[in-house]
């Protein structure tokens, strides 16, 4: 019996239809079916945050959500954060020269965007606590925190 289903969802403001096995994680649907490869595979078990996207506005690890659970949902990926790398977080990330290997940074930025949405002026402690689900093996944490503070400042002014 086939597990293949067809699901409609909205990705970066565009309605998309995907046909795949019902248990396929959203991560792989985004990456291989919709060719949005900015969202990264890191662990597959919700431990590293490299696959973080916004699901109905909330930072979510896309490796943990099956296709059958995201029907009619609104998804924003790093490609949809801004059309031209103009989001204050992206600009702050460049100003602080945050990325090293860069592989985790889409997930870091999407999680940070979720933080600033709910808390536009986070303290350093709040940043550290909120960002701790996301691993950066290059250890760019200090610069991530600084970039979030910089972006928060810019969004206030």
């Amino acid at each position: 019996m086939s597990n293949t289903i067809t699901v409609a969802l909205t990705v970066n403001g565009t309605r998309r239809t995907v046909t795949a096995s019902s248990d396929t994680p959203l991560l792989w649907v985004l990456r291989e079916d919709l060719k949005l490869t900015g969202t990264k595979f890191g662990c597959g078990v919700g431990q590293c945050g490299a696959c973080t996207v916004h699901l109905n506005g909330e930072p979510t690890q896309s490796c943990l959500y099956a296709l059958k659970d995201v029907a009619e949902k609104q998804i924003t990926t790093i490609e949809g954060l801004s059309p031209d790398t103009s989001h204050p977080l992206q600009k702050a990330w460049l100003a602080e020269q945050v990325p090293q290997c860069g592989y985790c940074q889409s997930g870091q930025i999407m999680r940070a965007a979720g933080l600033l949405k709910q808390n536009p002026r986070p303290t350093r402690e709040q940043i550290v606590e909120y960002m701790s689900p996301n691993i950066c093996r290059c250890g760019t944490y200090v610069r991530i925190a600084r970039a979030i503070e910089r972006a928060a400042g810019e969004m206030q002014s």
Partner: protein, 749 residues
């Protein structure tokens, strides 16, 4: 600074032979085609098509619109050398940096190999800037010479009157100027590159070196456009997953693939020598298929039955038995005679567990075969090693392999092994499938098939004279073999010396007249690889904890004791500075409530570093690092802020190795699976980091991993200051802390 911002041309061709700097430098020619499309073609590796019959320079192409394309031979894995190398060349040619475009060099050892690795095109060992530095300066100077010489001829003036400004040749007396692009339109290029004298590094004035220029790879890393091999999609591509043997040499004897075949989307099962592959329509089906395989493995492999405990028992016995001779790594003076003169002999044993790279991008690659060749997309630390391995796997000539080098989602030593098994995977699968295949390792595959920093037992004896000076030092390092496994080709010429396991036992700055470091590497059957900081990560831990133990035994402050042991060489003077400075920064003499301070010093391939950790201990045995101070002197700082970033990165990496990261081998196989049981540092774990970069006018040395070894030793030494208890094994796990404290009869405050 130079007056009028110009550089004169007086650095004429040299008489003496600089041929050793000239590899790949002969016969340079400038492109005549203009503009972006030509550059695009160059980037795509189609230079010939873009510029007709004109033969290119191997490193630099100057376009008539002023664009300067510079080849960068390094793999970019976050360390920044894709940018740093062209900076060095551009500085000496006096290029306008805003006009420079960096192009990834194709695989070619002869032209693009790293002199530090005997011209292997291999990005590792923090040896990229240091290895290429002289060649790139020389080559940049040659380009500048030819440009200025052409301008002088056009103007009919002596070359000595022509100077450069960034991107221009200038005749100062008449004010005439020609841009490099204008010169490219008429330039005649000598068939043989001229030899040009460059200022020695101690006297050179740089325009670009020492400035913080944005790394070229960073922009794409904040908007999802940066391309790693896992992102590659080619027409008609299918996906692969591989169930690999649990240890090297355990072959699949019996395969039950009935459940795997039943999974929707699974296309094909591919028996391989070292495992079983699954080809599927998408990654998820491939992973499910792999999980459904039932395989019985042959019991012939060396690793069966092995465990960390068995390794420690065996290694410790070897370390202790002075009758078992090792391979000398470093010898100085007469060690036996030195010990005879000592009034006190002290001895210490230090251990380290296996450790895993945990680069964020699980290993993967893409391959597409054609009638007579193969195209690969991969992230590798050696472009040429990858090409050779693929050619050998298919039995085809190397020129039939088209290589597409992608960004690496972390390397840390995992992607430079000679057999590049994670690249050969996709090639074999594409051959079996008859279609392009992207093979993706899951995180669990990446851990289970990991190639680790080896298990170590280090045993050091030191002979001390009546003044407290160390006069003899004997370091025996017992570990799994690394070089023989990760690179049999290099090992063949190494005379049994395992540089990956042994590096860091040499002590060039401590004034110890009689020294012997011996390597006793063992074949346990366990897969190993260089891991960030290689042997230095453990050998320096042994050195610096032992040094602390000696100081404590003699009742001397550990900072002062280290300073007393330093020799008077120029290198040791730099060592003295970093130790004194880090002690100042940390306010070393000030006692803290319920906190301990510990110091570590390190010469890492010429880079001088010292670190201080401030720690506290909780009742459950967990160590918390609150602050970490680090001073680093790696000579000329090509990209200073990037060196700071790499040092931050090295400290965080060292923190994980120090406190939480360990791989357990059980019956030859890996016990851990993913980030839930292999714990790497997260944002909440990191200390306040205080880093000082000392810029000295010495030949640049490494920066990409140097601080990592400081962290475990500084923490262990800080724990001693806090509790009086010594930990001699990495990682300093809570249960080990509690055990050591119970043994010493010390309780946590």
């Amino acid at each position: 600074m130079k007056s009028a911002n110009t550089r004169n041309a007086s650095r004429a061709p040299a008489n003496h032979n600089r041929r050793r700097f000239m590899v790949g430098a002969a016969g340079f020619t400038f492109g005549v085609a203009v503009g972006a499309p030509a550059l695009q073609l160059l980037v795509a590796g189609e230079a010939a098509a873009a510029i007709g019959s004109i033969k290119l320079n191997h490193w630099v192409t100057v376009f008539t619109d002023g664009t300067v394309a510079i080849m960068s031979p390094a793999a970019e894995m976050g360390q920044g050398s894709l940018t740093s190398l062209p900076v060095i060349l551009a500085d000496e040619m006096d290029a306008d940096w805003s006009k420079v475009r960096i192009v990834a060099a194709p695989p070619n050892d002869k032209i693009y190999g790293n002199p530090a690795f005997r011209y292997l095109q291999y990005t590792a060992g923090s040896a990229t800037v240091t290895g290429y530095f002289n060649n790139l300066r020389q080559f940049g100077a040659q380009v500048r010479y030819v440009l200025l010489d052409n301008a002088a001829r056009r103007w009919g003036v002596p070359l000595a009157e022509v100077r450069s400004e960034p991107g221009y040749a200038v005749h100062v007396e008449t004010g005439r100027r020609l841009s490099y692009g204008e010169i490219a339109a008429f330039a005649k290029v000598p068939a043989q590159a001229p030899e040009v004298v460059v200022d020695p590094v101690g006297k050179a004035e740089f325009r670009l070196i020492g400035r913080d220029l944005p790394r070229v790879d960073v922009a794409g890393k904040v908007n999802g456009t940066a391309q790693y091999s896992i992102d590659v999609q080619v027409p008609g591509m299918v996906y692969g997953a591989i169930l690999r043997e649990p240890m090297e040499g355990a072959l699949p004897e019996k395969i039950d693939d009935s459940d795997a075949r039943a999974i929707e989307g699974v296309l094909q099962i591919v028996p391989l020598k070292y495992g079983v592959g699954v080809v599927a329509q998408n990654p998820w089906a491939a992973f499910k298929g792999k999980k459904a395989l039932k395989v019985i493995w042959s019991r012939k492999a060396t690793g069966w039955g092995f465990s960390n405990d068995k390794g420690y028992a065996r290694f410790a016995a070897v370390a202790k038995d002075q009758n078992v001779k090792g391979v000398a790594w470093e010898t100085k003076g007469d060690t036996a005679g030195g010990f005879a003169k000592a009034t006190t002999v002290v001895e210490g044993e230090y251990r380290a567990d296996y450790a895993y790279h945990a680069q964020m991008e699980p290993l993967n690659s893409v391959a597409a075969l054609s009638a007579d060749g193969c195209e690969i997309w991969c992230g590798t630390q050696s472009q040429t090693v990858a090409v050779t391995a693929v050619a050998q796997a298919l039995g085809i000539a190397e020129d039939k392999v088209k290589f597409n080098g992608m960004l690496l989602g972390g390397g840390f030593g995992r992607r430079g092994n000679r057999d590049v098994e994670f690249i050969v995977d996709s090639v074999l699968m594409a051959k079996a499938a008859g279609k392009p295949v992207k093979v993706i390792w899951t995180r669990e595959d990446d851990v289970h098939n990991g190639r680790f920093r080896p298990l170590y037992v280090n045993r050091i004896r030191a002979g001390i004279d009546d003044k407290g000076k160390i006069v003899a030092w004997h370091h025996r390092v017992v570990s799994d073999r690394v070089l023989a496994f990760m690179d049999p080709v290099r090992y063949k010429t190494a005379n049994g010396r395992d540089n990956i396991a042994m590096r860091g036992t040499e002590l060039p700055t401590y004034d110890i007249p009689h020294r012997l470091a011996e390597g006793l590497q063992q074949d346990t059957g366990i897969r190993t690889a260089p891991l960030r900081a290689i042997g230095v990560g453990q050998n320096s831990f042994a050195n610096e904890v032992f040094m602390d133990e000696i100081a404590a035994k003699l009742g001397v402050d550990p900072v002062r004791y280290r300073l007393q042991q330093l020799s008077g060489t120029p290198l040791a003077k730099r060592a003295r500075y970093v130790i004194e400075e880090v002690a100042n920064m940390a306010d070393w003499g000030r006692k803290r409530q319920e906190r301990g301070l510990g110091i570590a010093y390190l010469d890492y391939s010429g880079t001088q570093l010292a670190g201080v950790a401030e720690v506290s201990l909780s009742r459950d045995g967990r160590i918390r690092v609150h602050d970490f101070w680090c001073v680093i002197d790696c000579g000329v700082a090509v990209q200073p802020d990037n060196i700071i970033a790499q040092t931050q990165s090295s400290i965080v990496y060292g923190l994980g190795l120090a406190l939480t990261e360990r791989i357990d081998i059980v019956d030859g196989a890996v016990k851990q699976s993913n980030f839930y049981d292999y714990h790497v540092p997260r944002m909440r774990d990191i200390p306040n980091m205080h880093i000082k970069l000392v810029q000295t006018k010495n030949h640049p040395t490494g920066a990409g991993q140097m601080a990592t070894p400081l962290v475990p030793s500084a923490i262990a030494n800080a724990l001693f200051q806090l509790t009086g208890v010594r930990l001699r094994q990495q990682p300093l796990l809570p249960e080990r802390v509690l055990h050591a404290m119970a043994e010493a009869g010390v309780s946590i405050a």
